[in-house]
Symmetry: C2
Subunit: 346 residues, 2 copies
């Protein structure tokens, strides 16, 4: 209902790093400044990808820019991230990635070897994800701009005809599944900057989630309601967006959420909540209760999905809120990411 729509106003006089962090400030920018101009049916959904119907074929399209700093980090690099990030946005829209286009904004003075390494990383990631980079564009800006390179990828996928995903379809009693441990990517990139006196044996989780999504669809398509890859803003922001769009509560069992000890330790030292830390190879799914076991079994059988687990369920109230329950019986409200404690992690 248009009359019931929340009106957001973007009154900030200047753009700040937090507006790109994927949390509350990003959402205000999108809803308060971008949507009023660009609003249309496909965009209104605010998912990771938009749906298009073309001569009876249902397509998903998506685009992301990557500005991660540093461009190379344990377990991955900007080129690999640029492929997997877009593949994953299509995957969680229920779409098999079909083709990507990529653009490079390069800084004059960039060593060719650094560019070549990223092009090779893109090619290898595309091969692994089973998708072709079919076109693109290269621009060069002056030395001192663009931190070496920014990469943008856009993707087109064909939506699996068995799935119908929408926050609006989520119902009380539905189960919340998570593909594996959270926070690896954000903490890895943060530590790779070398600004903190912390070291950890940790690598980014960047990978294509399509194989897991495909297994989930095969096993549980009729019960599959919603998926999201919790990148910027983390699991907390993704679930808050779900709670808000679906008008439901999400009850998270905090102890059930897998977090590696090293990530938990780093978060404790730095004062971060692991639920706010970005992931690049995990996804959340909401499935109806009768399909939850089949969905989890299917996920666990996919290499890399062994740690998939149920982390919570949908409740009717308190509407639009994410609550985390601890084993001691208490609950706390889990908010979206506010501010930007971890700028430029993708």
């Amino acid at each position: 209902m248009v009359t019931g729509a929340t009106k957001v106003r973007f009154g900030d006089p200047r753009i700040e790093l937090a507006h790109g962090a994927g949390g509350k400030a990003s959402r205000r920018l999108v809803e308060g400044l971008l949507l009023p101009y660009l609003s249309n049916e496909a965009l209104a959904d605010l998912g990771d990808a938009a749906y298009l119907e073309v001569q009876g074929v249902r397509l998903a399209v998506t685009a992301d820019s990557f500005v991660v700093k540093p461009p190379v980090f344990p377990g991955g690099s900007i080129g690999e991230l640029a492929i997997n990030g877009t593949v994953n946005d299509l995957a969680v829209a229920g779409a098999k990635p079909l083709a990507l286009v990529a653009t490079l904004i390069l800084e004059a003075g960039l060593p060719t070897s650094a560019l070549e390494a990223e092009v090779a990383a893109m090619a290898e990631a595309a091969r692994r994800a089973g998708v072709a980079v079919v076109g693109g564009d290269t621009k060069v800006v002056e030395h001192g701009k663009a931190d070496g390179f920014y990469i943008t990828t856009a993707g087109v996928g064909v939506v699996d005809s068995r799935v119908s995903l929408s926050a609006k379809g989520v119902r009380p009693g539905d189960q919340v599944l998570l593909s594996g441990p959270i926070g690896d990517h954000g903490i890895t990139v943060l530590l790779a900057r070398g600004e903190l006196d912390l070291e950890a044996d940790l690598a980014s989780d960047t990978r294509p989630v399509w194989p897991m999504v495909a297994a989930l669809v095969d096993a549980a398509a009729p019960g599959l309601r919603w998926m999201r890859d919790p990148t910027r803003g983390g699991v907390a922001t993704a679930l808050n967006e779900l709670a808000r769009e679906a008008g439901v509560a999400v009850l998270l069992e905090e102890e059930a959420v897998p977090v590696r000890p090293v990530v938990r330790g780093a978060c404790e030292i730095l004062g971060f909540d692991p639920l706010h830390i970005a992931n690049e190879g995990q996804f959340l799914a909401v499935v109806s209760p009768e399909y939850a076991d089949a969905a989890l079994e299917a996920l666990k059988r996919v290499p890399g999905g062994e740690a998939a687990t149920r982390v919570g369920e949908i409740r009717e109230t308190p509407a639009k809120v994410v609550l985390a329950s601890s084993r001691y019986g208490g609950t706390r409200v889990v908010d979206m990411l506010v501010g930007d404690p971890l700028p430029r992690i993708c």
Copy 2:
């Protein structure tokens, strides 16, 4: 034939501005460094857009990043350019633009008013081009990077089933048509930088060319062989790419190429060839001789296409060369753009 393929090696140790200028250096970067890693059937064509066949529907996809400096110039701005540029890449692939996705890389400290003006420009350009922006992404980088903003757009279009475009289909005797006067955009942006002590009453030609392309397809589809929008590198570079890919000669009648006196004057003062200057609202088409008159008539009837004209023809020899003939009977070889006299014009 693979055995006849030209092997290009990219041996430059660092990336320079010329590698983003759309001329010879850009081509070496693409052919010598990007293609060896990312090569596939769709990419091998090196057109403005790649073709995909999805369940019987023929799609075109394309992406471009925009880094124009300054972001606002007479007749347009980066936001408008980002929409029209991608719409035009689809159009010259024979594809009706269906949907765009857009990503913004914003500089921290950017006044919100500047961003809002560009979002409004994007929305207005999309409305004029009859295409929706269905999704996107926003990243923010530190102050001092990204010159305010870089915009990337990707687009999906449905290829008109009546057209079959390919440089390989171009034959001796085919006619070369041009939609209107050249050089307006590049010279406008150059003068807008204010670094030269030159002033001129001139505006960018940024606009969607789809209405002209649609009229051309309606009138002359069976004879339509090839189209290209001569942006970076200008008409000279686009025609050199055609000559090379088709293995033919292009004979350009230099006097027939429309150039406004103010553009010609600026080029004379600055030592530029108008054939190398970027355009953002023109396109070149090659049509078989029997369809040339019908094609031109159709173009001239579209508002904005009144100045469309025949500028040359395809010859068998000298293969892979563009020659310009003057009214005095002499000819000169017209090369691709070399170096980058005009960095960051789109």
